[in-house]
């Protein structure tokens, strides 16, 4: 048998290789799937640190005042220790301490934690051992001059004795696995809001467990268990999850574990892997089996004489079949171990170089099963190929030329393919088909096209050949006629069409997925990198960026972000338009951001950085309302005495904003309700750190016996500490909106009914109004009717309604023209949507982009939910690390960093990211298979082809014509099938790309950009065509070379 296999070494090798490739595909699928599953778990675990992975049991003493953390820990099931390290118990209680006598108390947290002193460095004193001992931080000790022995007035609770004596001074040792994100230090020296006032922060006091005795009823108890990450595998994840579920916490306690979420992530990923891998592999297996059918057929055909001899010597058909199957079956089975080894090797390569570290090597029971199935499938193919030959008569087997002809019609299998492809295409177009059928449709389409092409090319080549013959194109004629009559033509067309389509489809899928991951990463990060600072001061961060040296400054931008608690609410994104255009990534597949609409008003803000504001106010006012109307009819003029209003009921003031964003009002004068005159304004500004002039206003003081005042006030000669502010020009002020007129609810003008002598209302209620104009004598004229509402004219340095670019829906209760957003100070601010887009950088589909400089003019410190970030592009010197260092050098704390490469890595390290890589594998391998098939075709038809060529050579056809004919005969089917395949690949891409999951977790934005990657598809097609074309041409030229007279002699 071995001699038989060795005798046709080349053919056996090809058969072994194809069989091995089938086995490789079959075995690689479960190996790859399993590795991806493990990689998903490892990637998920790898993204989380020990603190994220811990199991926390939180409890309070609400129901059991004497409960201790150790008692909570004792109630946890023992089975947890298999998956978790021993628990770390902690008790905390919030209280207050007066750091220095006479000062306000500061909030402080008392902390008692297992083995805490082993994780502290004590610069003085010793670990507290009784209820009174306290460890204070080194920073606090220095700041407040606390020493060992200092007694501190610590607030008590519930009658319990609070620890009050400093017994040591600590600094925290860095040990993330112990602290699990518990922070004792970091508050010292900061200002914290306590009881409505700012108080100096104090680091945690470390106390002994006895220090938080039963009297501390508000104490919080926790037990943290660190996960034994290395023990968590796909198989153990479920068991660990069940161990967590088995926890029965005490009353008022809660259990917090990330394992369910991790399990959900992994299960979701596994589902996608199970969807992607088999479908991609199935296409490759289909191509591999098609090639195997061809190779096995060729192998059987070459054994026809031996089968004939076997029959001639008295062996039955069955005995002859056993002989053939023994030889070819053994050859095919030889490929099995090789294929499995290849699959394991490939899987190992993927594990080592593609997947994250820590993915274990696992063979799994599915691999031998898959190999067995592959082996059986290969044997079945060989059997099917041998069967028709073995059914032939001996006389037929003895014929030197097998009795095969090129069919010119569609076979049953071809029709079946066409029907299936049609069903798939129609189903996808009408959205009636999903799942495997939908994903397999591109391959079915290509196979059907290849089958149809087979029938068409045979007919077309015949006609072309005859026509060329008539016209004297000998090479073309010979090639056309040869293509038409070769039985292998249809095989070549079918396989090359399918492979070409697969290559184009796979390349497009990988490219589109890559593009979308890049898009999503860009939108998620916002720019090349985003450094989140610990500063809540937008002005300070902006100043730091603005003061960066040239070379850095143009590659960085400050960005303010204010989120709201509701995740579906609109997040405010404040950035400078020009910088955003330059540094941030524009969200893909949408209209360009109309950043020009966020331009700042021309007017610069007026800074009031001084003591006193002076101005001149010329007024002409009169009261309006009940009793202040015209003389009633019937009342003699001599008897008519209009009411007299005494005092100065009309307030004149300004509104300012502080650097902290507070909006403050300042009265700068009071005006009478009647008469005309001039008031010299001279008022304190009361802005020790400077403030911005926002508006000037008039308002009738409350408690007046008149309904309103009307008239005008001319303001001019605004000066601060004697220096003119230059704001007298009305152009620097923003005209009030007409909507500022408001009904006061008071009576309108009143007239006396001449019939009764009683006053009657004959007009509508008195309304507030305000108009702004240039005063005739210079300055700003406010003309108004005021009934007590604040009638303000604002400086034109900030619009009344903040222009914004809005992504997603208009916030609840608003309209595109006016809705509410949070300013950087966390205050509700009206805004208008100057442009509506699907997505904005970083904030995605729920955000409002505003001009940062406008926000800075308005001022304010960020709320707790706000953050200042610095976004950089990829040209920032030193990259991300360089930017982090620069900001730290400038005194800004960098809390965290998002970067495009990191975000890309996160998206790449996903089930879909890894799964789609398989498409490249399938494309490459299918191309290899197609090349092997061409070699096999050349081997099997070589003798006939070379005899033909030899006969033509003897008949006088020139060598160049013969070479041309041979090349065209070999190349034409490849080129035609390649073109049709590429077309099928494009159509398949359009049809099936929406069905392929590109992300593990779908996102609303950016919208999937499924536009075909024409360049990549074209390039991949050219590569495929080049590979197959070169193989065809080389083989054809070899045949042409071998077609000499010796070949003819063989046939005699």
């Amino acid at each position: 048998m071995w001699k038989a296999i060795r005798y046709r070494g080349g053919q056996s090798l090809v058969l072994v290789l194809i069989s091995a490739l089938v086995a490789t595909c079959a075995a690689f699928a479960p190996l790859f799937s399993r590795s991806l599953d493990q990689a998903l778990l490892r990637a998920t675990l790898g993204r989380m640190d020990a603190a994220d992975l811990k199991l926390s049991v939180l409890a309070s003493r609400t129901r059991e005042p004497t409960l201790t953390a150790n008692e909570v820990e004792a109630q946890l099931p023992a089975g947890l220790s298999q998956w978790y390290h021993p628990g770390i118990s902690m008790m905390t209680a919030e209280t207050e301490v007066v750091p220095v006598a006479g000062r306000r108390p500061s909030p402080v947290r008392l902390v008692a934690r297992d083995d805490v002193c082993e994780h502290l460095t004590l610069s003085a004193g010793a670990c507290p051992s009784d209820a009174s001992g306290i460890l204070v931080s080194d920073a606090d000790a220095t700041r407040w001059s606390w020493t060992v022995g200092t007694t501190l007035p610590v607030g008590e609770e519930g009658g319990g004795q609070a620890p009050d004596t400093v017994v040591g001074i600590y600094t925290v040792k860095d040990d993330p696995d112990y602290w699990l994100r518990t922070e004792l230090q970091g508050k010292s020296g900061t200002l914290v809001d306590y009881d409505g006032d700012l108080s100096p922060g104090v680091d945690d006091f470390v106390v002994a467990p006895a220090g938080l005795g039963p009297g501390w009823t508000g104490a919080q108890l926790s037990v943290d268990h660190r996960l034994k990450e290395s023990l968590i595998t796909l198989d153990s994840l479920g068991a660990a999850g069940r161990a967590v579920e088995a926890i029965r916490p005490p009353p008022q306690a809660s259990v917090d574990s990330p394992l369910p979420e991790i399990a959900t992530t992994v299960v979701n990923g596994k589902r996608l892997v199970r969807q992607l891998v088999p479908l991609l592999i199935a296409q490759l297996v289909a191509v591999a089996l098609a090639v195997l059918v061809l190779v096995a057929g060729a192998a059987v055909a070459q054994r026809r004489p031996e089968i004939a001899v076997s029959r001639l010597r008295g062996r039955s058909r069955d005995a002859s079949r056993r002989l053939v199957m023994a030889e070819l079956g053994l050859t095919v089975l030889l490929g099995l171990p090789l294929g499995v080894a290849l699959a394991v090797g490939l899987s190992e390569l993927v594990r080592r170089f593609v997947l994250p570290p820590g993915v274990p090597f696992e063979l799994g029971w599915l691999v031998p099963v898959a190999a067995l199935v592959a082996g059986l499938a290969s044997l079945a193919v060989v059997y099917a190929a041998a069967r028709p030959v073995l059914r032939e008569s001996i006389a037929s087997l003895l014929r030197s030329v097998p009795p095969t002809t090129t069919s010119r019609t569609l076979r049953v299998g071809d029709i079946l393919l066409v029907v299936l492809a049609a069903v798939g295409v129609v189903g996808i177009v009408t959205d009636q088909v999903s799942g495997p059928m939908a994903i397999l449709t591109p391959t079915l389409l290509a196979l059907a096209a290849g089958a149809l092409l087979g029938a068409v090319v045979v007919l077309g080549a015949t006609r072309l050949g005859r026509r060329a013959l008539d016209r004297g194109g000998l090479a073309t004629a010979l090639a056309g006629l040869a293509v038409a009559r070769r039985p292998t033509t249809r095989h070549v067309l079918l396989v090359v069409t399918a492979v070409s389509a697969l290559v184009v489809f796979a390349a497009n899928a990988v490219s589109v997925a890559d593009r979308n991951r890049e898009n999503r990463a860009q939108v998620t990060v916002g720019a090349f990198a985003a450094l989140r600072t610990g500063s809540k001061d937008p002005t300070a961060v902006a100043r730091v960026v603005d003061q960066l040296p040239a070379g850095q400054r143009e590659h960085a931008m400050p960005v303010g972000i204010v989120a709201q608690r509701d995740p579906d609410s609109t997040t405010t994104l404040a950035a400078r338009p020009e910088q955003l255009r330059r540094i941030a990534f524009a969200p893909p597949a949408q209209a360009a951001l109309a950043l020009d609409r966020l331009a700042l008003p021309d007017q610069d803000p007026v800074r009031l950085e001084g003591e006193r504001l002076t101005a001149t106010a010329a007024y002409s006012l009169s009261p309006v309302g009940f009793g202040f109307g015209p003389r009633p009819p019937g009342v003699p003029a001599a008897e008519w005495v209009p009411p007299v209003v005494r005092g100065t009921p009309l307030r004149l003031g300004i509104t300012v904003t502080t650097p902290e964003g507070e909006v403050l009002t300042r009265d700068i004068g009071a005006l009478p309700a009647t008469g005309a005159g001039t008031l010299a304004v001279d008022a304190p500004v009361l802005c020790p750190r400077g403030c911005r002039l926002q508006s000037v206003w008039v308002q009738l003081a409350q408690g007046q016996e008149l309904e309103g005042v009307q008239g005008h006030v001319d303001l001019r000669a605004f000066a601060l500490d004697g220096a003119s502010l230059g704001i007298d020009d009305a152009a620097g002020w923003r005209p009030p909106r007409p909507a500022t007129t408001d009904q006061s609810g008071n009576s309108g003008n009143v007239v006396i009914d001449p019939a009764t002598g009683f006053p009657i209302e004959d007009a509508g209620p008195l309304t507030d109004s305000l108009a702004m104009s240039a005063a005739p004598s210079g300055g700003l004229r406010l003309s108004f009717t005021n009934t007590g509402r604040n009638g303000a004219v604002s400086r034109a340095d900030a619009p009344e309604v903040t222009p914004a670019l809005l992504s997603g829906q208009v916030p609840s209760g608003g309209t595109p023209e006016r809705f509410e957003i949070q300013s950087l100070a966390g205050r509700t601010t009206p805004a208008s949507a100057e442009q509506r887009v699907p997505a904005l950088p970083f904030v995605g589909p729920r955000g409002a982009l505003v001009n940062l400089d406008l926000m800075l003019r308005i001022g304010g410190r960020l709320p707790a939910s706000g953050a200042m970030e610095v976004w950089i592009d990829d040209a920032f010197p030193g990259g991300v690390a360089g930017a982090e260092q620069v900001l730290r050098d400038k005194g800004l704390e960098v809390l965290s960093t998002r970067s495009l490469p990191e975000q890309r890595r996160l998206l790449d390290e996903s089930a879909t990211g890894w799964g789609l890589l398989l498409a490249l594998f399938t494309a490459t391998l299918s191309l290899l298979l197609a090349a092997v098939m061409l070699v096999v075709v050349a081997m099997t038809t070589g003798r006939i082809v070379t005899r033909d060529i030899a006969a033509l050579r003897v008949a006088g056809v020139s060598g160049s014509d013969l070479r041309g004919a041979a090349v065209r005969e070999a190349l034409t089917p490849v080129v035609v099938a390649g073109a049709v395949g590429a077309l099928c690949g494009v159509v398949g891409s359009v049809l099936a790309m929406p069905l392929i999951p590109l992300f593990d977790t779908p996102a609303v934005v950016p919208a999937l950009d499924l536009a075909p990657a024409w360049g990549v598809m074209g390039a991949s097609w050219l590569v495929a065509l080049a590979v197959l074309g070169v193989v065809s041409v080389v083989l054809a030229l070899r045949s042409a070379r071998q077609g000499d007279s010796d070949r003819l002699r063989e046939a005699w």
Partner: protein, 284 residues
């Protein structure tokens, strides 16, 4: 096993082609006695090889009967024919290489050919004995590629007679051989016939080969046209009474010519009346 007799009666074989049928044999009546050596002669396309193929059970006759020994071939099933070829009929195809498994030596080929009889309790002729008969023992283990055409042909003979068949059929067993090789093959055939009594029927174009065979049968236009015995040529009366004349006689007796048969002491004489010319008389 001793030789097997061969008898055909009204044997017809028609090849079915796509657009037309071709009658290769049009009523062959032939008897070959057991142990006889017969050469089938005739021009190309006369039906010699078809007749040989029918004797080997490789084709089924369109009409007529074939009897090999006690076996009526036209009534045998496919497995019975397989068994017949495996035990009682050896076939040497034209072209030595077509008879041999290319990756095996001659010894292995002989053993392979004997394989169909193994395990059935049959007594097999030792391989070396078979090889001795064709004088190939010393080359039996050489690769086929190293053998001369004559050695290959004798190897093919060895394979065909490896089961010691009663009938050996050879299709051009000496074609493309030089004289020495041809003689060796003919000597091997004679030895086989002499040693085992095997009936031998060979198809040949070679007149020298025919001259060395005790009996020749000429097939012409799908029928038995003539026979030669010990170098003497005879016309053969068919089952329907017709006598196919040799070509050189037909050249003088054109179709439509009237002849008379005149009986004499020496047999029958064919007489053309007009010129009263006596054609060559043939003893029937």
């Amino acid at each position: 096993m001793t030789g097997l007799s061969v008898m055909t009666a009204g044997l017809v074989h028609i090849y079915r082609a796509e657009h037309h049928d071709v009658a290769a044999l049009a009523g062959v009546d032939l008897s070959v006695a057991a142990g006889e050596m017969v050469a089938l002669l005739g021009p190309s396309g006369a039906g010699k090889s078809t007749l040989l193929t029918l004797f080997g059970g490789l084709l089924r006759p369109s009409a007529g009967r074939i009897r090999i020994g006690d076996h009526e071939l036209s009534r045998m099933s496919e497995p019975d024919l397989d068994r017949l070829r495996g035990r009682e009929v050896g076939i040497v195809l034209q072209g030595a290489s077509r008879n041999l498994i290319p990756h095996q030596t001659i010894r292995e080929n002989v053993a392979f050919a004997q394989g169909s009889r193994k395990g059935r309790g049959d007594e097999l002729t030792p391989v070396d004995e078979v090889l001795d008969l064709v004088r190939l023992r010393d080359r039996a283990d050489a690769p086929l590629a190293s053998l001369t055409p004559g050695e290959l042909q004798r190897g093919a003979l060895a394979v065909a007679v490896s089961t010691r068949p009663g009938l050996l059929l050879g299709d051009e067993p000496t074609s493309q051989l030089d004289h020495d090789a041809r003689d060796q093959v003919l000597r091997a055939l004679a030895d086989i016939n002499e040693t085992w009594g095997t009936t031998i029927i060979v198809v040949t174009h070679d007149p020298d080969v025919a001259a060395r065979m005790p009996r020749t049968v000429t097939i012409r236009d799908g029928r038995v046209g003539a026979e030669g015995r010990e170098g003497e040529e005879f016309a053969v009366v068919s089952a329907d009474g017709s006598v196919p004349l040799p070509p050189h006689v037909l050249a003088t007796l054109t179709p439509g010519t009237l002849v008379r048969l005149v009986e004499s002491d020496q047999g029958w004489t064919l007489v053309r009346d007009e010129i009263e010319e006596v054609a060559d008389g043939q003893a029937l």
